[in-house]
Structure formats: C-alpha cells, structure tokens
Symmetry: C2
Subunit: 395 residues, 2 copies
C-alpha cells in the first residue's frame, strides 16, 4: 500500500528550499556572487586540514578491511572512548565510551534519543523560534511536538507559557542552544530555571522528563563566551551533537548521543539506541569518518568568520532601526521584520537580491532569519543592498 502519509508530505515544499532554489535561479541570471543568499545554513569554511590528513593517512597506511569494516552496532569502541574523554575534559563530566552512541549527525542523534525516552502518544515540547525539521523528526516517530511560544524580548525561554504546556503527557523537552534561528545562547540562569521546573514536574507527575539537547552549534559561540553544558545542570539530559558545523563536515553525517551517566536507566540508553537502529536502518556513521573524526575532536574549522559576519550584520541592522537580539553564537540572526507580515517583507527583499527567510516556519511570524555562513566580502556588499531595501520600501 503506497504510504499516502509520505506522498502527502511532498505537497508541502520547504520554504527554505524554495528560497534557495530562487537564489540559484537568480544567480544564473546575474551571477551568484551578486545574490545575497542568506537562506541556507551550510558551513562556508573548509574542514580542518588535520581531518583531511588523517583520512589520507588511514587510506594509505591501514588495512582496508579494518578501516572499512563493519562498525559494531553501538559504534567503534576507541572512537566512543575518545569522545567521552574529550567531553569529560571540557565539561567536567564522567562519561565512558558506553555513554556515547555515534550517529548520522544531529538528525540521527535526535531520532535515537527521542525513541529511547518517549513512546508514541507522548508530547515533546520545544521553544519557538525552533528548527522546523523538529516537526517531522518528532511527529513521524509517533510522539507529537508542541511549540511553546517565543519570548521575543530575549529569545530565552518563555517560562509562563512553558509551565502551562508542561502537562503530564510531556516526557521530553527538546532545546537548541546556541539556537537556530535566533542565534541566542541560553544563559546559565535560563538552564537552571528550566532544570528546576522540570525536576519539580518530574516529582509531581511521578515520571521522567528528559531534556534532548540539540547542540550542533555548541562550538560557535561569540564574544569569547562559553555555552553552558546542559548536562551539568540536569541529570536526565541526552546531548545530541553533530560535527557538521564545528568541523564543517555536514555531508559526512557524523555526530553522537551523549547519555548523562546520572540519568535514569543511563546504562540502558545506548544499547537501546542500538535496538532502535535496527528499526530505522541507521547502523552507525561511516567507519572511516568515525575513525578520522576521533583524531580531531578538540579541533574546529576556522569558525571566526561567523563572528565577523555577525558583527557586521548586527551593527548595520541596528543602524537601520531593526529590532534585533544580538546572537551569542551560531551563524544565524533573527531580526524583527519592518512590517507585520514577514513573508511579504522577505518577498520584497528579493527585489534587492536579498534572500531572507520568513520566521513563520520557525514558529515566530513577524521575524526573519539570515544565515550568514557566507564570505565576509559578500556580507559587506550585502549591507548596501540592505540599506537600499529599507530606505526604498520602508522610509
């Protein structure tokens, strides 16, 4: 029986994808260098040379049967140990390799973590603005995603709305800090308050409520600040990480779930992820990629371009009178549009070859996202277009 559910989904075309296609088409007309394409969150800096070197070394010197052989279903033990050590050193945790489950990026991590701690029918809460792919990730698992409205003042958590929605049916809360699309980093205070609220509700309801912490932007933090590590504040935390952004390897699909050793059933969660894999055909990231990444865990691509770009854009947006919260990390910024309907606003921006994404699909209409993972030179040139757009359309 052709699965109508998936066939129906084909009708809903991704807004971001459509904008990106528009940018490509427009690029063919006027040269892509003249399109200020802020649509897609693709890393724009190369992977560290150490990663490339390690890959070549493995290919040249190791037995192909070893480096291309099956990864054990819970991941390559030495790789898991190295990831655990790196996290322990950086965040004062006490992971062992047994708490680490390598996955195909953060998407794979969330898919496994989610299925380990929720069952179909459960509710999962997330906070606007949020990454729109959370909907298929959660809803197609049989759980259902409910979105807590944004605190648009700061893009920290709207605790009033959160506490209202935190019913007995909620078994997991999915957070993303540094945040796509707002660029905001949850403060220590926010995370502490979140932990307190959840602990109280766990007690009241008599069941666990897990935090699924989606952390692909953990390494892209600005102003020399550190991103608080959620597991330090709340035991029932599963960290879902991806090397896509930190090592600029999005196509290689590599990340992990890190299970807080203090969480409920901590020793079972990784083996359960192995069982979940059997049902979704996942079976670990590519073995050579696991092996190479394990050697460059404490490195990153040169991420400084993102902070430079953020500063340029933030200053210009402020100068032009936008309401905008200064990002603490990522490569996104999320200003308020200059008219009520951000879809109309972004449509007008196209005339100036500015490709902006309306906030509607992030659960935050009236705002728009700019993904500034592009060359700084292009950001600089885009400022003129931005100024012209604002002055022509809104003065």
């Amino acid at each position: 029986m052709i699965a109508q559910q998936y066939k129906e989904m084909l009708k809903a075309k991704s807004v971001i994808r459509q904008l990106s296609e528009f940018a490509t088409a427009r690029g063919k007309e006027i040269g892509y260098e003249n399109v200020f394409d802020y649509s897609l969150g693709n890393p724009s800096v190369p992977a560290p040379q150490a990663f490339t070197d390690k890959m070549i070394e493995l290919l040249k010197n190791e037995n192909p049967i070893d480096i291309h052989g099956y990864s054990p279903s819970l991941g390559i033990p030495e790789v898991k140990e190295k990831i655990a050590s790196s996290l322990n050193k950086r965040f004062g945790m006490n992971y062992t390799g047994n708490h680490i489950f390598p996955t195909a990026g953060a998407a794979g991590a969330i898919s496994h973590a989610l299925r380990a701690v929720t069952v179909p029918g459960d509710e999962v809460l997330t906070f606007a603005p949020f990454f729109p792919e959370y909907h298929p990730y959660i809803d197609l698992s049989g759980a259902s995603l409910k979105v807590v409205p944004a605190n648009t003042e700061t893009f920290q958590i709207n605790f009033e709305a959160f506490q209202e929605m935190l019913t007995n049916k909620v078994t997991a809360v999915l957070i993303n800090s540094p945040n796509n699309p707002s660029g905001i980093v949850y403060s220590e205070e926010t995370i502490q308050k979140l932990a307190e609220v959840l602990k109280a509700k766990e007690k009241e309801y008599g069941h666990d409520i897990f935090i699924l912490s989606d952390e692909p932007y953990r390494e892209i933090a600005f102003d020399g600040k550190k991103v608080p590590y959620v597991s330090n504040y709340y035991d029932n935390t599963l960290s879902c990480y991806s090397f896509s952004k930190s090592l600029s390897l999005p196509g290689e699909r590599i990340g992990y779930v890190a299970v807080n050793p203090a969480c409920t059933d901590a020793e079972y969660i990784v083996p359960m992820c192995g069982q979940i894999s059997r049902g979704i055909g996942h079976n670990c990231p590519a073995s050579i990629i696991q092996l190479a990444v394990a050697e460059v865990l404490d490195q990153t691509a040169d991420l400084s371009v993102y902070e430079r770009n953020m500063n340029l854009l933030y200053d210009e947006l402020k100068a032009l009178g936008f309401t905008v919260v200064r990002p603490g990390g990522t490569f996104y910024i999320f200003p308020k549009a200059l008219e009520e309907h951000s879809i109309a606003f972004c449509e007008k921006a196209k005339k100036y070859d500015l490709i902006l994404v309306p906030g509607d699909s992030f659960g935050c209409p009236g705002y728009f996202r700019m993904a500034y993972c592009i060359d700084t030179e292009k950001v600089e040139r885009s400022l003129t277009a931005l100024r012209k757009f604002v002055e022509t359309e809104y003065r």
Copy 2:
C-alpha cells in the same frame, strides 16, 4: 517515558553475536588462527584499490566544502545518474537518477522502501531461510513480517505455503537472492512464477503488492552464472542494494533503493523516501563515500576467494555425507545438521573449534550456516576439524 519496547529487546541476545564473542574468547586461549570461525558475514577481501585511490584524490584535490558538504536530501545527482547508467547497461533497465535513492547500505534501503509501500498493520512476507534482521526491520516499522516455510529440497520458493499465506493484508514480499543463509540463487523460473502469482493476486485484491528485493550479494555468483535481475520480471519491484559485499565497504554504509520506472507511483517513491528520512534521521550516506563509490560502480573487490572456499567446503561436506544444496553465490552455505536439533549440533562443533550457526534463527531449524568469508588457508585447515567432529560425534 523510557521506551520499554527497546529495553525489552536487550534481553534477546543475537545468537550470531554470541557465537562470534565465543570465537573471540576462544581465540585468546588458543590463537584466533586456530578457531574456525564461520559465524560472521564480514567481507574478508580488501576494497578495490581504485576506491582508495579515488578517496585520496578527492581529499587531495577537491575543495573540502564541496566534498564534505550536505548531500541533497535525495542524494547527490551525479552519483544517482551514474548508478542509473550502470544498472541500465548491466540489466537493460531504463532508470534515471530520479529512480535512485542512496542509502546507508541495504538496511537503510529496506527501511525506506518498506515505509514507502506499506503502512502499519500491513503484512510483509519473506521466505525461510531468511536474514533474521528482517524481523526488527519490518516489525519496528509497524508492519508485520510473516515467514513462509522453506522448501528445504532446493531452497527455492515453497509456492504452496506462499500462496496460502498471500492474503489481502500482504502488500510487500521481501526476497533475498543470492540468499543469506542458504547461498541459493533464485532461478529465472522461480522469479517468473513469483511474478505471475503476485500479478494475479494484485488483480484479485485490487491493490499493489511490491517486491522488496534485497540484493547485497548480487555480485557474488558462482560457476560464471548471472543472477536474474528481479525488476526485469516484475514491475512493482524496489531493488535494495548495498556495496558492503561487492566493494568490501560494509562499515561505510552505502547502498541504494532503485525504483523500477514501471512501478506504481514510480515518480513519487524516491521523493517519498526523502520524506521518510526526515522521520528516521537518515539523511543520505556520507558524501565523500557517495562520490568515491560512483567512480568504481562497475568494479568489485576480488570476490573469487568466496567461490574457492565454497567449493572446498561443499566437496568436503558432501564427502562427509551431509545433505547440502550447492550455493549459487554469497559466502554462505547451509547444510542439514547431523542430528535433529541444530543448536545441539553446533554446540558440539565448538569442541572442535568449529563455529557454526544453528538454522533456527534463520527460520530453518535442523540446518546450520557457515559464513566462509575467511582465508582459504583457514578453510583448508578447518576441513580436518570438520572431519574429526563428524567422525567422533556421529559415527
């Protein structure tokens, strides 16, 4: 809510995994070279040098942002085109790139194909003996797997039992030829008859019945014979392929679904697979692996060792009086045990450092599997142990 379903699954330990662990432990006592470990189906020959060379070339000469960037969610277009061309040339098909969905091996391929053409509650039939992972693949999707008893004379299809079980609830039939564990290749006659039965039942029931053709061993065929390509005989066929065995890359998780252009909703199936991916966190195989494999599609690792090993084992098993069907491909052989209970039989074999897998978990008690993807020299030495085992225990 901790998902008890997956926690419960941890209690059932894989028989094959346990035997493999026994072999490793025994190897520590007497040297692994002295353990005749026929438990695991891991390729024992290296990947082709051309693959390694291509990987190094990409890493050395290409822009890391290109080779490690996001793969489009339906796969890298040039890779898909090349796979289509190769299949068209070899099997007289008319695939385009749009009919190819790259996946993380055959497991990923089956997971997607299955969800595209079945809905929870549907029944999927397969034929004993069968790969035991089909149970979690199918059952955890919400469909249910029913196993048609074996035709133990030939290990072709038991059509009588099949037709009885082919009720209106069946929407897909999962086949695997060359077969794990029997090594048998379905004859053209078998596939023709299967196609006829299914076409008649599609008409009778008024709905599609898809063949999911699991083909990871397609390139390992013996006696110079060709494996019939299922899509040539039945339009509603989704071929689920893996490069794990043909290129000896099991850990790199690369394969594809090839959608027969003549099947129902052919143009929708690949895009639907893209939607399915969003729900299971799959998101395409590693980009560099896609790019490198696309350059060596018509090559294989040196697979001749498997045929040599098969001949050695088959001749000795026959000489020792075993009932055994001669494999037409793969690296498995599936003889009848010398006592009723194959678990007891395989347990006794351990005393002779022969690691054999009972047929019970393949849906065929009374038989046992030998995975002869090991060095020929070791196969030769194992024959003495086999002879001693049989003569001591069964004469």
